[in-house]
């Protein structure tokens, strides 16, 4: 028999928050929402309040100095979750700034108690609690008095079986404050501005009694309120995503939609693999990606494309356009410059699930890096790793393109050192032969599989990639300046498929 108390978890109504809280908000918990001005504290509190408050389980929102209630009501009602019709019945606002101004904590406590008795709220919010602390410092109240107040308040609110939020701008220097000890939960929100981009982040520093998602999660504030993008798939020591059994990689091969390419890959790309297609600008990376998606559509496998490359003025690939219009592939097209990788992964995984997609294209990593807020660029490689891992966890086959600088002195496949992240690599190159610019490609790697080692020429005809023969009679092709191997030069000219 189980004699322990079961703590009910409340659904906060903030997308993503329950996930990072470890299932929801513990009922009757005493929580702190901290963060600098403008970080979204009050919005978070209001969104939770309107999601949870009912006439039977009403909410009490106490304003103490801080933001004037008139202003708060003016701005908060812009969010779609704000429901003026429920004010008075399910939600009550009470302004106690006058009581606060007296600096008499006993009186403030008595007034809060009076309000609790009057409405028996299931949810209590105090905004901002920092004002209480500042007032204590200003009025020269002995710190013992404030500590006593905090403890009394915490005790009283737990006894009243109210789930409580203290909202305030707590700074690190006050972190030894008793309120941090008394609190069951600490939700820290912040915004970081880096160059021209602004990123909002939330962290659950503490939540008694449940396993929260550690780390920093990004969120966005829109007209609908806050949406949190839980950091993608935190893995445990076993390397498996929590609650997920790694999908066995099937022996099945995925046709690429480019004639002869499947042969080069040893019979197609193994299903569930990630493939990096690296090449310079104009070499046909997007064409290969398009062919990959189109082949999937032909076989009844929906796909998703994440595009970062094209600007609105450029006409988008008509083949992609047609597939998007037909609903056979999903397109995430973004030019925003303040995205977090978690946000993109969140959208991507949502779309993959919705469309039951089997193929995903990221075009390109270079564009992706630009789209990601500068604050995240330092962690770009790590985030890519998480994204590829999350996608492979879904069992989809992924094609990533990567811009490769035309630097012929070294044999590089991607500027991010991301080559190790993917299971397979195809490299595209320009080479010069007989004063012509030709294109060549090679399969560099297919994990655990035999593949062609040939360097083959290819051409782009009417938007299609046509792979030619192996370039015989040359060496140093990937260096960009091939040399004929003397005894085989005659063969070479035929091998390129070009007239002499």
């Amino acid at each position: 028999m189980n004699h322990t108390v079961t703590i009910r978890q409340l659904a906060t109504g903030v997308p993503g928050l329950d996930t990072i809280l470890g299932g929801g908000l513990p009922e009757f918990s005493f929580n702190l929402i901290s963060g600098p001005p403008g970080s979204g504290k009050t919005t978070l509190a209001h969104q939770i309040m309107f999601a949870l408050a009912t006439p039977e389980r009403p909410a009490l929102f106490i304003t103490v100095l801080g933001e004037p209630p008139l202003k708060m009501l003016r701005y908060q009602q812009q969010f779609s979750f704000f429901d003026a019709a429920r004010i008075g019945s399910a939600v009550r606002f009470v302004d106690l700034s006058d009581e606060m101004a007296t600096g008499d904590f006993e009186q403030l406590l008595a007034r809060i108690a009076l309000e609790l008795e009057a409405t028996s709220p299931a949810l209590v919010f105090v905004d901002s609690f920092r004002a209480v602390m500042l007032e204590a410092a200003l009025s020269g109240a002995p710190s013992g008095q404030l500590q006593h107040f905090v403890q009394q308040l915490g005790l009283k609110l737990s006894a009243w079986q109210a789930t409580t939020f203290m909202i305030g701008e707590y700074h690190s220097q006050t972190e030894d404050h008793p309120i941090f000890t008394v609190a069951d939960g600490l939700l820290a929100v912040r915004q970081s501005v880096h160059r021209n981009s602004m990123v909002r982040q939330i962290q659950i520093l503490k939540m008694r009694g449940q396993a929260t998602s550690p780390g920093v999660h990004t969120f966005r504030i829109t007209g609908a309120g806050i949406e949190i993008f839980p950091s993608a798939f935190v893995r445990d020591d076993s390397g498996a995503a929590a609650g997920q059994i790694p999908l066995p990689r099937s022996a099945q091969r995925v046709p690429m939609g480019v004639p002869l390419l499947d042969d080069m890959l040893g019979g197609g790309l193994p299903s569930g693999f990630s493939l990096l297609v690296a090449g310079p600008s104009g070499s046909g990376k997007t064409l290969m990606a398009t062919a990959f998606l189109a082949e999937g559509v032909r076989r009844g496998e929906p796909g998703v494309m994440v595009a970062f490359e094209q600007t609105p003025s450029q006409s988008w690939n008509p083949a992609i356009n047609d597939m998007v219009r037909a609903g056979t592939i999903g397109l995430i097209n973004t030019r925003s410059l303040d995205l977090s990788i978690d946000e993109i992964v969140h959208h991507l995984i949502g779309m993959v699930r919705r469309m039951q997609a089997r193929r995903v294209v990221i075009d390109s990593l270079s564009g992706f890096e630009l789209a990601v807020a500068p604050a995240f660029r330092e962690d770009f490689r790590e985030s890519l790793f998480r994204m590829v891992a999350a996608l492979s966890g879904l069992g989809v086959t992924v094609l990533l393109t990567s811009e490769l600088e035309d630097r012929y002195t070294d044999l590089r496949f991607s500027p991010y050192g991301s080559a190790f992240l993917t299971d397979a690599i195809i490299v595209l190159r320009y080479i010069e032969i007989d004063s012509r610019l030709l294109r060549v490609m090679a399969v560099v790697k297919v994990r655990d599989s035999a593949h062609s080692s040939e360097i083959r020429s290819y051409t782009v005809i009417a938007g299609n990639i046509a792979i030619g023969d192996r370039l015989r009679g040359f060496e140093g092709l990937l260096g960009g300046r091939p040399q004929s191997t003397p005894d085989d030069s005659q063969h070479a000219r035929h091998g390129t498929g070009e007239a002499p």
């Binding site: 004037p68 209630p69 008139l70 009602q77 779609s80 302004d95």
Partner: protein, 144 residues
């Protein structure tokens, strides 16, 4: 939307002032009715927007109303007992019609300021049933 809301608030104010002044005739009764409705309004709002919030809005409303009724006391703009007493005394010196008109304009201006800040829906909600006797509080009309 706002016009309809304003009209319904005007009707509510008229109704309240009329029934409040019904006990007696003359400017004294009218002044008392205006002050009664004001106290009721302030009581309704103070818990939510704070006494200070109510006071600044009332001060502004009085200032704006004095443009049309130049005889209103403009020196004391607060919601304090002294200022309100001055207002009552001033209203009582006018004719009953003038006192009622000034009171109606003052309260209507006050509500218009509140609407400007927090919108129609929330204002109806905050002012409560006493200001909208003829209709139930309107459903929130959300911008998004």
């Amino acid at each position: 939307m706002t016009d309809a809301g304003e009209e319904s608030r005007r009707q509510a104010i008229r109704l309240a002032l009329h029934s409040g002044a019904a006990n007696g005739a003359g400017a004294v009764a009218s002044a008392a009715a205006v002050l009664d409705l004001w106290h009721q309004t302030a009581r309704q709002l103070e818990p939510v927007i704070g006494a200070r919030g109510v006071e600044v809005l009332f001060g502004r409303a009085l200032h704006l109303t004095a443009r049309h009724f130049s005889w209103l006391p403009t020196s004391a703009h607060g919601n304090s007992a002294v200022s309100l007493e001055a207002l009552r005394a001033c209203l009582a010196t006018r004719s009953a019609t003038e006192a009622s008109e000034a009171g109606e304009t003052l309260l209507l201006t006050f509500s218009a300021l509140l609407v400007g800040l927090v919108g129609d829906a929330l204002t109806s909600r905050l002012l409560g049933a006493s200001w909208a006797p003829n209709e139930p509080p309107t459903q929130a009309q959300r911008p998004m």
